[in-house]
């Protein structure tokens, strides 16, 4: 069965420090992978996506993610966190053989301290 795992429910990081959010997936076909961010009380905003090609993808707000097929991972990184990055982050895989349904991870809550 398809699944997406975000091992870290909650991460606290200091402003200016680097951030890495982990995502592991289980999916038989070639995955389409996404990271979304949700600010408090808001909908989900797309940060970046991977379909094929270069395994290091750049997104908005200075985020990047690296697809590693051998590890079934798609980890999100940012070199220097800003206070405005405090939010919840969701990893998702598109089930391309099922009308584009998504399987979401449970989310990682990021807290940024001064």
């Amino acid at each position: 069965a398809q699944s997406v795992t975000q091992p870290d429910i909650h991460i606290t990081v200091s402003e200016g420090a680097s951030l890495e959010l982990r995502c592991n997936y289980s999916y038989g076909a070639t995955p389409y992978l996404f990271w979304y961010v949700q600010s408090p009380g808001q909908g989900l905003q797309l940060l970046l996506k991977y379909f094929s090609g270069d395994t290091l993808v750049q997104g908005i707000k200075g985020f990047e993610a690296e697809f590693k097929r051998s590890q079934s991972s798609f980890n999100l990184r940012k070199p220097s966190v800003h206070w405005s990055d405090a939010a919840e982050y969701f990893c998702a895989v598109a089930l391309t053989d099922s009308w584009g349904k998504f399987q979401f991870g449970a989310g990682t809550q990021v807290v940024v301290t001064p």
């Binding site: 996404f34 808001q42 998702a92 009308w99």
Partner: protein
């Protein structure tokens, strides 16, 4: 830019009421989705639609129904609201036709409270 709008940001209803949540997208997308989001559970798919008048159950359809009479509009209906349906409801749309990228675009969400 894709725009997905939801009829209400906040809604308060009483147990037993019939509740309608409306979602409209402006990008001619084939697919539309309704999710509920609860702390610690992430997003769970309630229903989705891949064409006008077509619908499929998601992971948690019990207590909900949907309607898609026009391509741009997808409604979620709570026939008889219950307190355990208090949640954040998110609508999304995507285009998976040839050349589509499967990216789902989300509305701002409706925070529903059932008293």
């Amino acid at each position: 830019d894709v725009k997905v709008t939801q009829s209400s940001r906040y809604l308060v209803k009483r147990t037993g009421e019939k509740v309608f949540l409306e979602c409209v997208q402006d990008m001619d997308h084939e697919n539309m989705f309704w999710y509920r989001q609860d702390p610690g559970l992430g997003l769970r798919l309630i229903y989705f639609s891949y064409d006008v008048k077509m619908k499929e159950k998601g992971d948690i359809p019990e207590g909900y129904s949907v309607s898609r009479e026009k391509k741009e509009r997808f409604s979620l209906i709570l026939e008889s609201a219950s307190t355990n349906q208090t949640s954040m409801y998110l609508c999304a749309s995507s285009d998976t036709r040839a050349g589509g990228t499967d990216t789902q675009y989300f509305g701002p969400g409706t925070r529903l409270t059932v008293l």
